[in-house]
């Protein structure tokens, strides 16, 4: 992986995402316990942790795929409440890439990408398709434009999924374990695309186990356990000088 990247976010900008004392319950189960997190513009954060720690739930709360019961979430100045208008505004600015891609199997790749711009941003069809082709080129998959998702490999589908989110010109990209469902030989092509995205200055929050990616691209690495952010630090400090007991235990288990 390449090393050239913008390490320092622009300090003068307002934060992109601000989460204050956020709690979430699934029934009786307290899944997120007092999350405080601020993400600056163009900052790249990697969240890791054991399964069940709430990391996926955390990012799903940011675009309201899950609803939080206590605390405050503010995305680019708009607070996330039950207000439909706020939710839609936030969803248009936040892009999400899922573990299982979730491409629309009944539409061609191009149609998958132009669906959002046409129906949400009300862009003319031709313009939407040109936009789509632009992003398909970016993720190096333009030649598959007319195909259907079922005809592509996992790695190709995930790259298309990334392009689909980019077509909406989001300000933040959330990644929920983007490579966990991929065969090993396809992980690199997706990570490469994510690195290129990072180099262009996209604000990213990535839930992943790919520690190499974290080391080379992230500004901060967060470790979550039992619904809390246990430790957060720069990648160097995090991997080499972890401080909390649970962090050390986790790292010993995954880095062997």
């Amino acid at each position: 992986m390449q090393d050239a990247k913008m390490k320092e976010p622009r300090v003068s900008d307002a934060p992109m995402i601000e989460i204050t004392d956020m709690h979430k319950w699934f029934g009786e189960f307290h899944v997120l316990r007092g999350i405080d997190l601020t993400v600056k513009r163009q900052e790249r954060i990697v969240i890791c942790g054991p399964s069940g720690s709430g990391k996926s739930t955390l990012i799903r709360c940011i675009n309201r795929l899950e609803e939080h019961q206590r605390g405050k979430i503010v995305v680019d100045g708009t607070e996330l409440t039950n207000n439909i208008k706020n939710i839609e505004k936030i969803r248009a600015e936040v892009g999400m890439v899922f573990q299982h891609f979730n491409l629309f199997p009944h539409l061609t790749i191009v149609d998958n990408l132009s669906l959002g711009p046409i129906w949400v941003r009300k862009v003319p069809k031709k313009e939407a398709e040109e936009n789509a082709m632009y992003y398909l080129e970016k993720v190096h998959i333009a030649e598959q434009a007319k195909k259907y998702p079922g005809q592509l490999s996992g790695g190709q589908q995930q790259r298309v999924a990334i392009a689909r989110s980019l077509c909406m010109s989001p300000k933040v990209m959330l990644f929920d374990e983007p490579t966990s469902a991929l065969d090993p030989e396809m992980i690199k092509e997706v990570l490469d695309v994510m690195v290129e995205l990072a180099e262009e200055g996209m604000t990213m929050i990535v839930v992943t186990h790919e520690m190499g990616f974290a080391k080379s691209v992230a500004h901060r690495v967060l470790f979550m356990d039992f619904g809390q952010i246990v430790e957060a630090n720069t990648p160097e400090e995090f991997f080499d000088h972890a401080q909390h007991e649970r962090t050390k235990l986790f790292l010993s288990q995954i880095l062997h």
């Binding site: 969803r91 899922f98 009944h106 079922g150 005809q151 909406m168």
Partner: protein
Amino acid sequence: MATSQNEAFIEKVPFWLDPKKRAIMFQIFIFCMVGLLAYYLVSNTMANLQKQKIATGWGFLNKESSFEIGESLISYSAASSYGRALVVGALNTLKVAFIGVVITLILGTVIGVARLSSNWLISKLAAIYIEVMQDIPVLLQLFFWYAIFYESLPSPRQALCPVSGLYLCNRGVAFTIPEAHPAHKYMLLALAIGCVVVYVIRRWAKKRQDLTGKIFPIFRVGIAIIIGAPLMVWLAFGAPTAMNAPQLVGFNFKGGITVSPEFIALLLGLVLYTAAFVAEVVRAGIQSVSKGQREAAMSIGLRPPLVLNLVILPQALRVIIPPLTSQMLNLTKNSSLAVAIGFPDFVSVANTTINQTGQAIEGVALIMAVYLVFSLSTSAFMNWYNKKVKLVER
């Protein structure tokens, strides 16, 4: 060298060990057995028919039927031929099937969606309905509704009147309908023109959206036109509100429309039964679309109606339509049970014909042929639909 090796391979295999020849011999054997069986059955049948002096052939279709049919869409009397009687029966079957299919589709879809509702009460009630209605034989349900009419409803003189103009009694259900008026013709015309106009507007709106991106509220406008156009015509004619209400004359109702208890019982039984199966098909179809599809659609900012229209429904319909057409076919086949409650559908009329002419073979063959036509056309449609919407995969 090579040639001698080849010759060594192509040895003569006795034909009784060659798999291909064995297959052919086996098939010849099977065909002979089937043929022998058929011959045996047919010769017995011919002998028996001769003995009992039963005619064969299709000549009976032109003979006078000398039985009455309770309800008919075309004119018919006891002097009409058997052929005509059978046509009346077939039309009655189509009538029940058509109305039944429309109502079942609506009811079944509503119940299926209700089953998936986030409202616990509605969801549980739908589940109970589905489970109970599926587990009681349809014939029993038919008898039950028929018995309700005969035992629980009063005579026409004391008919139940839940709303003014609607009468329930043991002779059937009598509705009030609007008095025939020239305006109706024009209203129908307006409706037809409205549909065409909406279709045209849809195409224009789609083009416009492709070009400029602006979305036209075609749904609301379409509904407005389809309801509004006939409404305008009605108003133009002075808003005629004269109704043709059923009046009690002597022992029965005259005027309005009366529907026989047999028809209502058949329709109710078939619809309530089949709707439970349709509800399951709809539910399974909607659930077959993975949760992630909805989440992905919402993440790119689509509103719920668009998520449904653009992402969920296209995928759900692919899963729903094939078993749905099976259920519609089942409804049509089950309508044959009309013979048990005296509604003159095709099987019922054919049964009477068989009883009177004794020509059972022709009669049963006719019944099977008619239903085969329904089934085969439904199969053909399903195959065509499946090919058309098949998801393209590796």
